[in-house]
């Protein structure tokens, strides 16, 4: 069950109004290595993952990723809320505006809608956790790309936070993998 807390996990303080970033940030909203993918992937995998440690971790990281979805959405929302149509067009968001005005929508940076094809679940904890490890690395590298695309210090601060979380999540999934491997080894001796 989910309870919603009415605050961001980490503050988003955009200083410059670099609307082009809004288009790029979509990749971490509805893109393949974005926060929505991460949240759905982990929250879905947890049903068939063995060991309480792994179930707890997938639940908790999955929940944190939803908080990250909110942060990305906040960044896009604040960048576009006061933009004129001309400014949106100049930032490459003209076609987006045509269909959705300033509404947010889970797509990648090119407008390709989010799909469950971005995630997987195999009920094989070794396979699932390796996917999760890879996902965290991919997200980390995307944040590094996004950091290279902006010089707004407030934006950079939030992106750096999100990048660091990916590194920590990777570490935790590595530990869960070891726990699951030990569990599988133990099952062989009865």
């Amino acid at each position: 069950m989910w309870i919603y807390e009415k605050k961001l996990e980490y503050p988003v303080r955009i200083e410059k109004c670099d609307i082009r970033m809004a288009k790029y940030l979509f990749t971490q909203y509805g893109g393949p290595d974005g926060e929505l993918s991460a949240a759905i992937r982990y929250l879905n995998q947890r049903y068939t993952t063995p060991t309480n440690e792994a179930k707890a971790l997938l639940t908790d990281i999955g929940t944190e990723e939803l908080a990250h979805v909110e942060m990305i959405a906040t960044m896009i929302y604040q960048l576009t809320e006061d933009a004129t149509v001309e400014e949106l067009e100049a930032a490459g968001l003209g076609s987006n505006y045509a269909i959705r005005n300033r509404a947010l929508f889970p797509t990648d940076a090119n407008g390709v809608p989010w799909t469950a094809a971005y995630i997987q679940a195999h009920a094989d904890p070794i396979a699932d956790l390796h996917e999760d490890l890879a996902a965290e690395q991919k997200a980390r590298t995307v944040y590094e790309n996004l950091l290279n695309l902006t010089d707004d210090p407030g934006m950079q601060d939030a992106l750096r936070f999100l990048r660091e979380r990916e590194v920590v999540h990777f570490q935790r999934f590595g530990e869960a993998l070891r726990i699951v491997q030990e569990y599988q080894e133990a099952k062989k001796y009865y």
């Binding site: 309870i3 919603y4 807390e5 009415k6 605050k7 961001l8 996990e9 980490y10 503050p11 303080r13 440690e53 707890a56 971790l57 908790d60 990281i61 944190e64 909110e70 959405a73 906040t74 929302y77 604040q78 809320e81 920590v168 999540h169 935790r172 530990e175 869960a176 726990i179």
Partner: protein, 85 residues
Amino acid sequence: MTHDRVALLQKLQETEFAAIELNLYLDTHPLDQNALMQYNQLACQLQMLKQQYETAYGPLLNFGFSPSQFPFRWLEGPWPWERQY
């Protein structure tokens, strides 16, 4: 948001973030007594900060996890995605 509110919110975010970090760590290290003690201390601090914030600015949680003054303050802005600084 007033300066005081921003400052209190930041303290809350910092404390809760520390708790989240420890939560994830404890998920894979359930036997780390030290970490668990820290986690419980943070939980206590978090409760106090939440109460302080909520008394002044309204409920932080829905579904019965935070009480509300009259009229129902849960719906008050600003919402987290709106500009607050």
